[in-house]
Subunit: 344 residues, 3 copies
C-alpha cells in the first residue's frame, strides 16, 4: 500500500514549485539507431558525423526530437499521470545540441494554475527544462495540461496565467555554436532547395505515408521512458485500443517532411502544437507543411524557417486542416508550429 | 546431411562434462537502448552513467537481466533444444557488473542427471557460468530441464541430484566493488521508499500493464541469440501460436516492478523461479511483488531485499498466485524469487 | 509544388553519369544490436570483438549485409523510385570491413541502358559503390532495374549492355587485411564443420523458420534509410499489403543459414541474385543452401566457399527451387549466389 506513484492532482501544484523529475538518462548510439529504425528520419546532420562536422559541429548530435522526447518522458509521472488532456506547448527552444554519451534529466517549474469552473479539475502550466550532465539547459518548453483534482474540497488557488509568446521571436533562436552552412553539400543532404527557394505561404505535400504498428509506437514510447498506461495496456481503455503517444506522431511527421524539406536540418524552436485527434495502430500517417515565416540568423549561411507541420491520416483531403467551424478535421492528427535552420 | 545441430539428448549429458557454448557476444550501448525500448525499464542505475557514478560504479552497467539473457541464450542450442520443460533455477548470483564493450561467453557444467521412470526422458542439472573477455565469471546459476532421450535403449545413468540451496544466503551475495548508496538521490531514482520502509510480508501491486506483441518478444529473444524455433515459427506448434520466451516475461515483470520498487536497483541473486503458465502475444502482463526477507550488507548504505516477483495476465485476481490445490492459478505466468540491493 | 522528389525516369539516365546519393550514414553499435535483434544472426565474427580479434581483425566489423543494406538504401530515391522491377545483381564485392563509427555514402555509375520494345520503359544498369569517410570503396555491386519512362516521346538511347561476369572469380575475391583462421575456435563459432567438410553439390536444409511481422520488416528497412512507399504504406497497394524489402529476406535467410553454415563467416562476393516471389507479413521464412564451388585463398587458414542461398516460405517442398518450366516455384522467395570465407 502506498508504494506506487498515484501521480499529482491539481491541488498538488503550487505556483513556483520546481519538480525534479526522475530518471536521468544517458543517450547514445543505440538511441540514434533506434530513432532511425522507428521513423524514416533522413536529415543528414543527424545521420552522418562527417556531414555534421562539415557544418561546424563536433559530430552528429542526437536528433532534436530524441532530446525532446527524453526530456518530456520524464515529466509524465509527475505532470500527466492524472491529466485529462494535453492542451498546448509554447516557448520551446533547443539551446544546445545533445551528443552521444550525454546524460539528460528534467525539471519543471509550475508557472501557472487555473481551476476550472466545474471545480473538478484545473489547468497547470509548467516550464520544463532538460539539463545535461554538467547542468546546462539543452532544451526548454512550456506545456499546459488539464489535471483532475484528487480532493474536490481542496480550495481553488489564485488564478495565475503565464504570459506566453505566441511565437518564439527570431532574435531568441539559439544557433548551435560553430554552426555554418557555408560548405553545405546539397547532394549529400538529398535536395537542392535552399532557404531562398521557399516562399511564405508555400505548402508542401510530403507524399509518403507510414502505417502505424502497435509494436513500433510502444518501442518508441518506452525508449523515452514515457510509461503512461494508455499507450501500452490494451485492457485500459474500454475500446481495447492503445492510444499512440503524441510524440510518436510528431516524430513520424517530421521524418516524413524530409521529402520536400530535406534541408530544414535542425529544429530550434517549438512555437506551439496541438494533438488534434487521437492516432491508433493501423492508421496511415502522412504529412504536409506550410511555410509560415522566414528569418535571417547571425550564423554563416544559416537561415531560419518557420513551418507548420500537419500530420494527417488515411482519407484526409489534400492539405487537410480545419473546417469552416474552425475545428480540426477528423483526419488531422497534429498541428505543430516550429522554427528550423536551413542553408541560405 | 548432418551439418545442422540436432541438439543433445538425455543420454548425451555426462556428469562433470563442461560444455563451452557458442557464440560469444560483445554487448554495448545498442543492447542497452533496445532493452529500454522493449521493456519499461526505469531503474536509474541502469539508465544514467551519472547516477551510477554517484553510486560508486564506473558507469551505468548493462542491465542485470541483459547479462542473464545473453548468458542463458547461448545455452539453448546445447541444453534446451530437445527439452520438454524448463523445470527450475537455483543458486543464481551476479558476481560482477557487465559494462558496455564487455564480451560474454557461457559454459555449463553437468552437475546432476536422473532418468525418468518412463525411460523416455530425464532431468539434467547444469551450472551455467557467464564469463567476460578476461575470463572472470560475471554470473552463474543452476538450471534443470527435462530432456528427451534420443536412443531409448541407452542405459540409464546413475542418478545424481545436486544439493542446491533453496535460497542464496545473504552472506553469499556479492556486492559490486565500490558500490555505495550513501549519496543516493531519491528524487532522481523516482521514489522515496528505502529499505527500511519495506516490511517482510508486504505485497505491492505494480499497477501498470503491457500488452505483448509478436514483434517485440521476437526482437528481444533474438537479441539474446536464443533461437529456439517455438518462439519464432508460427508453423511449429499445432495451434499456430508462438510461445513467448520466459525471459521476456521476467524482464517485463521486473521493469513493471519499478512502480513501487524503484529503489530495488540491482539484482544480485536468483533464488528460484518457475514459468507457471505460457504467455502468448495479446496477453497483457502485470506484476506484483512480495517482500520475502531483508538483510544488511557490508557496503555503505546498501541493504538487500528478497522479493517474490509474480507476473500475471489479464483477468488475474489481485495478488493472484496459487490455488487451494497448491497449483498456480491459470493467470499466473511467472514466480521469481530474487535478492536486490536497495538504499538503506 | 516541385519540392518533393519525383524520382528519375528511364530517359533521365545517361551512360557514364555518376550519381552521388544522399544521405551519408554513420553506423555504430546501435545498428549492430538492431541487426541481431531483427535477424537470428549468430556468426561469431560479427558478434564478438574477441572472436574477431582472434581472427586478426581490429574488432568485430559491422555485418556485411548491414554495409550492403546501408549502401543500397541510399540508391533507392535515385534508382528505384520509378522502378517496375529489380532485375538482378552481379559483380558484388566486399572490399573492406566496416567498423562501428565509420560513415558510409554511396554513388552509382550508369553502365548500361536499353529501352524496352514497348517504348514505355527500359532497363538501367548501375555500378554502385559504398565509400567510407576516407573515400575508400568498402563495397561495390552491379544492379539492374526496369524503370518507367516519364516522357514517352523521349528518344530511345543507344543500347549499351555491360559485360558482366556470371561469377566473381576466386582470384578477384578481396580478403580483409590480416584475416587468419589459423587459431579459429570452432566451439565458440558453434559448429565443427570446416571448408574441407563441404562438398560441391551438397545441400543443407537450415531447418529453422521465422514468421515475419510488419513491425520488424519496417524497422529494418527504415534503418537502412530505404523509404520506398510500398514497404510502409498499407494504402499504397490495392490489396492493402506492404511488400517486404527484398533485403529483409536476404538477411533473414543468411542468418538462418547459421544452422549448418556457422563457419561461413564473411561474405566477400555477390555473384547474382533474384527476388523470386514477393514476401508479406505472416509468411514464415526458411532457407536452404547448396555448395556451388570452393576455392583456396592466400590468407592463412582461409578458404572460400560459393553458396546458393534459397529462401522459401511455408508450404515449400524440400529444397524447393525451380519447376520443370525453369521458373521458380511460388514458395521460393530468394535465390542468392555468393562467396563466403570459411576456416579450411
Amino acid at each position: 500500500m502506498g508504494k506506487t506513484n498515484p501521480g499529482r492532482f491539481f491541488e498538488d501544484y503550487k505556483l513556483g514549485d520546481v519538480i525534479r523529475h526522475a530518471v536521468p538518462r544517458t543517450v547514445a548510439e543505440g538511441e540514434r539507431a533506434l530513432y532511425h529504425a522507428l521513423y524514416p528520419a533522413r536529415h543528414a546532420l543527424y545521420s552522418s558525423d562527417e556531414f555534421a562536422a562539415a557544418c561546424g559541429l563536433e559530430g552528429s548530435p542526437i536528433d532534436d526530437l530524441i532530446a525532446f522526447h527524453v526530456v518530456f518522458g520524464k515529466t509524465v509521472p509527475d505532470v500527466s499521470l492524472n491529466a485529462v488532456a494535453n492542451l498546448g506547448y509554447a516557448e520551446g527552444r533547443w539551446l544546445k545540441p545533445v551528443y552521444p554519451g550525454d546524460t539528460l534529466r528534467s525539471e519543471s517549474e509550475v508557472i501557472g494554475v487555473k481551476q476550472n469552473s466545474n471545480g473538478k479539475s484545473g489547468v497547470v502550466y509548467v516550464r520544463t527544462r532538460g539539463l545535461n550532465q554538467v547542468g546546462e539547459t539543452v532544451l526548454e518548453y512550456v506545456r499546459w495540461v488539464m489535471v483532475r483534482k484528487g480532493d474536490l474540497d481542496a480550495p481553488a488557488p489564485e488564478t495565475v496565467l503565464p504570459d506566453l509568446a505566441s511565437v518564439v521571436a527570431p532574435a531568441d533562436l539559439v544557433i548551435p555554436e560553430g554552426l555554418s552552412f557555408d560548405d553545405y553539400d546539397f547532394d549529400l543532404a538529398g535536395e537542392p532547395h535552399r532557404w531562398g527557394d521557399y516562399e511564405i505561404g508555400e505548402k508542401i505535400d510530403h507524399v509518403d505515408g507510414v502505417t502505424i504498428e502497435e509494436a513500433e509506437h510502444m518501442i518508441a514510447t518506452r525508449l523515452w521512458q514515457n510509461t503512461a498506461k494508455v499507450h501500452f495496456d490494451a485492457t485500459f481503455r474500454e475500446d481495447g485500443q492503445r492510444l499512440i503517444y503524441g510524440g510518436h506522431v510528431i516524430s513520424m511527421a517530421r521524418a516524413l517532411s524530409f521529402n520536400g524539406l530535406a534541408n530544414a536540418q535542425m529544429i530550434v524552436a517549438l512555437n506551439g502544437g496541438a494533438h488534434a485527434n487521437p492516432c491508433f495502430s493501423g492508421d496511415t500517417v502522412k504529412a504536409w507543411s506550410e511555410v509560415l515565416d522566414k528569418a535571417e540568423t547571425g550564423a554563416p549561411g544559416v537561415g531560419a524557417i518557420r513551418l507548420r507541420l500537419v500530420a494527417v491520416k488515411q482519407g484526409a483531403p489534400e492539405f487537410a486542416y480545419k473546417g469552416e467551424d474552425g475545428k480540426y478535421l477528423p483526419e488531422v492528427l497534429l498541428d505543430l508550429d516550429y522554427w528550423a535552420l536551413m542553408p541560405i
